[in-house]
């Protein structure tokens, strides 16, 4: 592949021997695993691996000259730029709504827009997404509406009944569990010979779960069309990346499952989309699963219920903010003459208006009746639950009510 490859400091070269070796006890603190030297006996190299790190667009908006042409098609880039801006406009408004008591807890994707947008742009409508709670960037591109997302975070299950991506999974809160759903979906596609791909997104913390690893392992054994993307935003609530895993990269967890693993700059939407697209195409062609670790940074609090200033240095966050994905693409587009201040103003206005319309529609959404909690429990409510249903009706507030 003629991709620009940077052996960034995250890249890793590891060796493991067929012999049973115990790693140095201190390995957890070190970025590289050191192998204990054995006194005697021949040693042969069994397996070695390498993790690439891909970036096309630097934090200051300079494009690597080796970037493939199809990755920088003007229409494509303008679409990515608009989608990221739209995601951020929505995100900011959702936080503001929560702050004024009009929305429940919300998980911001600030600074990580390129990951969701890069994935969403690389998928086909017939593919399936199994998202976490921070993936509205991808979901909005898939056709989930802002209103649906607001309704969900506003505490109403109807927000998971997407009108457009009918087969996409709902937002997954139990961390890591969605990876198995995506693997199962991918198996269904393979069994039915459908040219569809299942894509799932999880966090760096999620990569510590057994669900993540065992699902990846199973998907590899079955060679199903699955793409797993880790949004490594460096934090799992207050737990920093290095306390989640002693591995030098999260991408290398793919090695232990027998799938391809790679790192990409998750704040470079050009590389992000390119890598996601390649992995999805490979999966569609029967090449099996890929694990992508997208390196980014969570610029906001974990959720609106969190206060990140308790556990991390604002100065570090400020420095990381300089690498955020939208400004760097704007710089590049402007330098190429593809983007003007006038276009920027218009886009900002369009996004703000779209968000306002969504908020108005959300706030005007009539409450669900009490019966909603029974209506979708089973295909058919068992007769034995009739008395509970009647009790709920008897105590339901006149107006349908908010809980």
């Amino acid at each position: 592949m003629n991709w620009a490859r940077a052996r960034a400091n995250q890249a890793l070269f590891g060796v493991c021997s067929k012999k049973f070796l115990r790693a140095d006890e201190k390995h957890a603190a070190a970025p590289y695993v050191t192998l204990t030297k054995l006194e005697a006996g021949p040693m042969t190299i069994g397996v070695s691996f390498q993790i690439d790190f891909l970036r096309f667009l630097s934090a200051s908006g300079e494009l690597d000259p080796a970037t493939p042409r199809e990755a920088i098609d003007p229409e494509l880039l303008l679409g990515l730029y608009r989608a990221m801006t739209r995601t951020r406009a929505y995100d900011g408004k959702a936080i503001a709504l929560q702050r004024t008591g009009k929305l429940g807890t919300f998980a911001s994707a600030l600074g990580q827009e390129a990951i969701g947008v890069g994935i969403g742009a690389a998928m086909r409508s017939e593919d399936v997404l199994a998202p976490s709670y921070r993936d509205h960037g991808a979901q909005l591109l898939r056709g989930m509406t802002m209103v649906e997302n607001l309704v969900y975070w506003g505490g109403d299950e109807r927000g998971s009944d997407y009108a457009v991506p009918r087969s996409d999974f709902p937002i997954c809160v139990p961390v890591g569990t969605q990876v198995a759903h995506a693997a199962g979906a991918a198996y269904a596609f393979k069994l039915r010979n459908e040219k569809r791909v299942a894509v799932t997104i999880l966090g760096d913390g999620g990569a510590s779960t057994g669900d993540f690893y065992s699902a990846l392992n199973m998907a590899a054994v079955w060679r199903v069309p699955l793409v797993v993307v880790i949004n490594n935003n460096q934090w799992a609530i207050s737990t920093p990346r290095e306390m989640e895993s002693a591995t030098a990269t999260l991408a290398q967890k793919a090695v232990a499952a027998g799938v391809e693993g790679r790192q990409v700059d998750g704040n470079d939407v050009i590389a992000m989309r390119h890598v996601a697209h390649a992995a999805i195409a490979k999966a569609r062609d029967g090449g099996g699963p890929t694990l992508i670790e997208a390196l980014s940074y969570r610029l906001g609090d974990h959720t609106t219920a969190d206060d990140a200033s308790r556990y991390r240095d604002v100065e570090v966050v400020r420095r990381e903010a300089e690498k955020e994905p939208i400004a760097r693409l704007r710089k590049y587009l402007a330098a190429r003459g593809l983007w003007s201040e006038e276009q920027e103003r218009r886009l900002a206005k369009d996004c703000a208006e779209e968000v306002e319309r969504a908020v108005a529609a959300y706030l005007a959404t009539p409450p669900q009746a009490f019966s909603a909690m029974f209506d979708h429990l089973f295909a058919q409510l068992p007769e034995s639950m009739r008395d509970q249903y009647e009790e709920a009706r008897r105590f339901a507030p006149e107006d349908g009510g908010h809980g």
């Binding site: 429940g104 807890t105 709670y133 969900y152 975070w153 506003g154 505490g155 109403d156 299950e157 937002i171 809160v173 139990p174 961390v175 890591g176 913390g205 999620g206 510590s208 779960t209 057994g210 669900d211 799992a236 609530i237 207050s238 737990t239 306390m243 989640e244 895993s245 959720t303 219920a305 969190d306 308790r310 556990y311 409450p367 669900q368 009490f370 909603a372 909690m373 029974f374 429990l377 639950m385 509970q388 249903y389 009790e391 709920a392 105590f395 339901a396 507030p397 009510g401 908010h402 809980g403």
Partner: protein
């Protein structure tokens, strides 16, 4: 003496245990620098060090599993599960190992660990954050299950749980974490783990509840008092082992009983209490035992949560019906 919220009382009990028992250690997600998402472990890592107050990677199954290993080797791990819905990945370790290590080894190894987790709804939390899984835990042989209803009971019962030689699940009602303050004496005194508490004395009907629901039951008792119905209110506190004597003594006095439970109805812990009353106190009863429970539905998101949770109105209604019965 200090006025403390329930979550502060939990914090004091943990601090007391860490200070006086070098084998005690805490582990869980975000419990160190952040002090836990509810701040139950606030300041404890600073005070006792990161070797005894451990931030773990995100993996509940492994947290519970390493706690089993630590406990078997003479430590007393107190693990925090961040929200009730994330206890489920830990169930394998709890049910297959923690609860039965003593029995499997005929007493050679044991498992003196505590699993702490917030429990229940009522705070408009996101999906999977408002579960009440106590019945499935109480159903597990070898586990003790405790749910405090006040700061003082949280303090005393948590210390008892930590000192207990076997695994204890300690479920803290999220809704009560900061609802009210109470005087708590931080003297290391524990409360008995096998006792129900009579929270309000009365003659006419026994209202039974635990955790967050105790306060709905007490509020209903107030309402009913103005109608001339005198409720006795029992705080179950320790679901297992269940103090049947206190319950039966009360039902013998009142002849009527209403059980309030936040969790879904079917096979909930209220059913166990009703069964105990029927088995051992049937002839005390002047009316059928009634349950006021969550419905047999998935815990709704915030908007419908209020219609799911047993309310004062629903409890009072059930008590009135019980009083009407011949």
């Amino acid at each position: 003496m200090a006025e403390l919220t329930l979550v502060e009382a939990v914090n004091r009990a943990l601090a007391h245990a860490l200070e006086h028992d070098p084998t005690v250690l805490l582990l869980g997600e975000d419990i160190g620098v952040n002090g836990g998402v509810f701040r139950a472990t606030l300041g404890l890592q600073q005070r006792f060090g990161s070797a005894r107050v451990l931030d773990t990677p995100l993996a509940e199954a492994a947290i519970a599993g390493v706690a089993v290993g630590m406990a078997a080797m003479g430590l007393k791990p107190v693990m925090e599960i961040q929200f009730s819905g994330f206890i489920y990945p830990a169930l394998d370790q709890l049910i297959n190992h923690a609860s039965r290590l003593r029995n499997r080894t005929r007493g050679r190894l044991s498992c003196p660990m505590v699993l702490r987790a917030p429990n229940g709804g009522g705070i408009h939390a996101p999906e999977h954050h408002s579960e009440s899984p106590e019945a499935m835990l109480a159903h597990t042989p070898g586990l003790r299950v405790v749910i405090p209803s006040s700061p003082a009971r949280a303090y005393g019962l948590l210390l008892a749980a930590i000192r207990d030689p076997d695994p204890v699940v300690f479920l803290e009602p999220t809704r009560l974490y900061r609802l009210f303050k109470q005087e708590v004496i931080d003297d290391g005194e524990s409360l008995p783990l096998d006792t129900c508490f009579v929270s309000r004395e009365g003659r006419d009907v026994t209202l039974i509840a635990w955790g967050g629901m105790l306060h709905e039951a007490l509020a209903a008792a107030e309402t009913l008092a103005s109608e001339g119905v005198d409720c006795e209110v029992i705080d179950i506190a320790t679901l297992k082992p269940l103090d049947a004597e206190t319950i039966l003594r009360s039902v013998e006095k009142t002849g009527r009983c209403v059980i309030v439970q936040e969790a879904a109805r079917t096979a909930g812990f209220g059913a166990e209490i009703a069964a105990v009353i029927v088995e051992r106190g049937l002839y005390f009863l002047q009316a059928p035992v009634r349950r006021v429970t969550g419905y047999d539905v998935v815990m709704p998101l915030a908007r419908l949560e209020g219609q799911y949770l047993p309310s004062v109105a629903r409890i009072a209604d059930a008590v009135r019906k019980t009083m009407e019965a011949a």
